[in-house]
C-alpha cells in the first residue's frame, strides 16, 4: 500500500482503501522494522532478551500512538508503564513476569469492557 500525499491509501489495484496519516504509517513502519530486526538479532542473543524485546516493541508501538494522537487512556497508561519499567525494572525473570501479569490483567479488563468496533 502506498500513500498519494492526500492521506489516501492506495491498494495495488489503484482503489482508495482508507484515510491514512503519513506520520503514523511511517512510525508504525519503523516499529515493524524494529521487530523484524529483533527477530534476526535474537537468534544469537541470550534467551531472556526475547521477552524484553517484545515488551520494548509494544512500548514503541504505544509511544507511536501517543505521539501521533491515536492513543486512548489505556494505550497511554501502557506506554507510560512500559517506558518506566524498561529502564528501572525487569532485572530478572520474576520481575518481568510480575510486570507482564499486571499489564495483562489490565488489558483483559480493558478488552472485555471495550465496545465492539
Amino acid at each position: 500500500m502506498s500513500n498519494d500525499g492526500n492521506h489516501k491509501g492506495i491498494a495495488p489495484g489503484g482503489a482508495a482503501v482508507a484515510t491514512l496519516d503519513p506520520k503514523l504509517t511511517r512510525e508504525v513502519y519503523k516499529t515493524m522494522t524494529f521487530i523484524l530486526t529483533a527477530a534476526k538479532t535474537l537468534v544469537d542473543e541470550p534467551k531472556d532478551y526475547g521477552p524484553f524485546r517484545l515488551v520494548d516493541a509494544v512500548g514503541r508501538l504505544a509511544q507511536v500512538l501517543v505521539r501521533t494522537g491515536y492513543a486512548d487512556d489505556a494505550v497511554r497508561a501502557m506506554a507510560e508503564e512500559i517506558e518506566h519499567e524498561k529502564y528501572y525494572g525487569l532485572k530478572d525473570e520474576t520481575e518481568l513476569l510480575l510486570f507482564l501479569d499486571k499489564l495483562l490483567e489490565k488489558a483483559a479488563e480493558n478488552l472485555a469492557s471495550r465496545p465492539k468496533a
Partner: protein, 176 residues
C-alpha cells in the same frame, strides 16, 4: 592527571538520556579518544560514523534493537577492511578487539566529560551499513550511544577479584 581507576569505576552503561544535544567539541573529543586506541599491528582499522541528526538516529534505531533510549548521538565504530587487505596486516579476528579498545576509550572519555554512553552490539550490520551508506569495505561492528544521563544509574555487582584472579598458575590465589 586524575585517577583513571576511579573514572573506570564511575562509568555506567546509560540507556535513558536527557533531550539535549552534545556540543561538537565534546563529540570530537570522544572520537579522538577512539582514534588513539591501540590496534593489532598498528593497523588503525577503525573508522567512525557519527550520527547526531534526530531522524537519522531513529532510522538507525529501527535496525538496532539494542539502542533502547533516545540518545543525542550514536557513533558507529566500523572497521575498514582495506587497511588490512592493502597492507596484509593481520586477520579479521583482530577487528573486534581493535573496535572494543577504541570503544572503551570513547566510553571513558565520554564519562570524563559527564556524558553517558552505552556500547550496543544488538543491531543488524547489513542494514546499518545500508542506512549509513557505508562502502563495501567498511563494516560496523559496534554502536556507541551518547547523551546526558537522565538520572543516576546503579553499578551492577562485580565478581570479586578473589574469584577471577589467579597468580602464576590457575587456582593459586593472589596473596600480597
Amino acid at each position: 592527571m586524575g585517577d583513571i581507576l576511579e573514572l573506570i569505576k564511575a562509568r555506567r552503561s546509560i540507556r535513558r538520556y536527557e533531550d539535549r544535544p552534545i556540543a561538537d567539541e565534546d563529540l570530537l573529543k570522544i572520537v579522538e579518544a577512539g582514534r588513539w586506541a591501540p590496534s593489532g599491528s598498528n593497523r588503525q582499522p577503525c573508522v567512525f560514523v557519527l550520527v547526531d541528526d534526530r531522524d537519522a538516529i531513529e532510522t538507525l534505531s529501527a535496525f538496532s534493537p539494542g539502542v533502547i533510549g533516545r540518545a543525542a548521538a550514536v557513533v558507529a565504530v566500523c572497521v575498514d577492511d582495506s587497511r588490512r587487505l592493502a597492507n596484509d596486516r593481520g586477520s579479521e579476528s583482530l577487528d573486534p578487539m581493535d573496535v572494543a579498545m577504541a570503544a572503551q576509550n570513547m566510553l571513558l572519555e565520554a564519562a570524563s566529560l559527564g556524558i553517558g554512553s552505552c556500547p550496543v552490539l544488538s543491531f543488524d550490520g547489513k542494514s546499518v551499513a545500508r542506512v549509513l551508506g557505508l562502502p563495501g569495505h567498511v563494516r560496523p561492528l559496534l554502536l556507541v550511544t551518547l547523551g546526558y544521563a537522565l538520572g543516576p544509574a546503579k553499578a551492577p555487582a562485580r565478581r570479586p577479584l578473589s574469584e577471577i584472579l589467579h597468580r602464576n598458575r590457575w587456582g593459586e590465589a593472589f596473596t600480597k
